[in-house]
Amino acid sequence: MEVIAKRPESLTKTPFTYCPGCLHGVAHRLIAETIDELGLVNSMAGVAPVGCSVFAYKFFNFDMAQAAHGRAPAVATGMKRARPDMHVFTYQGDGDLAAIGTAEIIHSANRGEHISVFFVNNAIYGMTGGQMAPTTLPEMKTSTSPYGRKVDDIGYPIRAAELLATLVAPYYIERVSLLSPAEIIKAKKAVLKALTYNKEGRGFTFVEFISTCPTNWGIDPVKSKEWARENMLPFFKPGCYRDKGEGVE
């Protein structure tokens, strides 16, 4: 019998702990499949953040470090500098990367650190139970913005891809979404590009995934994708913001 789909070698057999309808599993799978395809499983190392993906170190089947909140790019920097023969990535959520870890992400990108950063943006803090994120949309209600995010008070959501694209050093920056099979196929191409550049030692690569949080948004999984399409994509526009390999500066 021919095997046409199987668990990637880059994933352990530990079951994911994510909520039904959560897209972290899809993002994990895309990264793991790509690492398999590039033959990097023996030289790969990842850094898990604080957030819903805090247990990512259990799910990826190669060496993994669990970092303090927001510090994953600094930890990855230390790992890569200590083991230049290894390929290193971080996997971070919006609170981790765009709030408490802003210094670490900006400066690792600015150094052109030879790491890949996978950033999952679902506009909310999932693990702690639905608080406002730096990417929470204007007027969006969360447990710490119960009257909606007031931009006059707390400002606008941070567009991480565009922010990092103001820096000279990053090699590749792209925002993709995980809201439909066609978009997931596109997202896979971005992951492949980031990890290929990583393998080739080109420099800092960054992929932002627009994702959902059915549990904390209080919307069922199918409708949450529609909600994200209508509300998130107009503000967080998918696209390639930097690709030095393709002349996109």
Binding site: M64, T77, G78, M79, H107
Partner: protein, 359 residues
Amino acid sequence: MAKVLMKGNEAVAEAAIRAGCRLYFAYPITPQSELIEYMAKMMPTVNGCFLQAESEVAAINMVYGAGGAGKRVMTSSSSPGISLKQEGISYCAGAEIPCVIVNVQRGGPGLGDIQPGQADYFQAVKGGGHGDYQLIVLAPSSVQEFADMASDAFDLADKYRNPVLILADGMLGQMMEPVEFKPKKTDEEIAILGEQHNSWCICPNQDGDKKHHHEINSLEIDPLVLEKHVIKLYEKYAIVEKNEIRYEEYNVSDDNEVLCVSFGTASRIVKSAIDELKGKGKSVGLIRPITLWPYPYEQIKAAIGPKVKKVYVFELNMGQMVDDVKIAVNGKVPVDFFGKVGGIVFTPAEVEEKLEKCF
């Protein structure tokens, strides 16, 4: 090797490189700037990594990553910067990351000043970061000892998979003294050291054959598992306490009428006062703890001779180590304390005056 005249900050950096440290991450702060500058200058000449981090917070997390990858790694700072590193230090202790941290202490609290102090004793030996953990803490009192401690610190960090803190001060950092360095580790020796942690650290699968899934982690969501982990850490600390206590005795004898306890820069001033009193026929001894953790409790207790009327503690703070001395003395004789703060260092005459009143 001939002796060279060097600042403490430079000597500890040179000694770290000689001990095989090839990764250094830090942020500038006075009075340790010569240390980061020396590393910036010398690391590229030995194919090492020098990286000026965006913050102390980032620097200690780079240490977590590099130490987690099994390599000899160091960071350094001064008091306010060490406060910023506490989160990362707690993670390093929890995940059992071997690494070396240097604190060239200055006056506090807050921004304080840039003069020498010893007010980070509690932070160094009683926690500092969150959770139950211990650092191995070494306290030098000369530039020579500061340099020698660099290799000792790496050896201890590797032996026990634990962060080691060298607790110096602005005086030792800035002062120039003759220093003789240990031989440089060869590239082969450094390569062997770099692979010694491959059974647990972040490292490639050697033969291109999927063999391991190592986790660098301090998270244990199951309380029973976390409890087991913390107990395991404390079993390790008990072994450190058994094997690694270091201290110096100075003029300790049965004739002592006062026993002093003092560490680092402060202890040198106490020694001068003891010498002066000796000339006047007054016998005073000194115990200088070299490891501030593990602490020489038993050794202090044992040094209290039959004629000792008082144990006198001298520190450049408002009285921190004196608490540990009281534990050691356990009510056997009175314990007194004299300290100076704000970056002011007491003089031998001031110490002598305090001691003379005990006779």
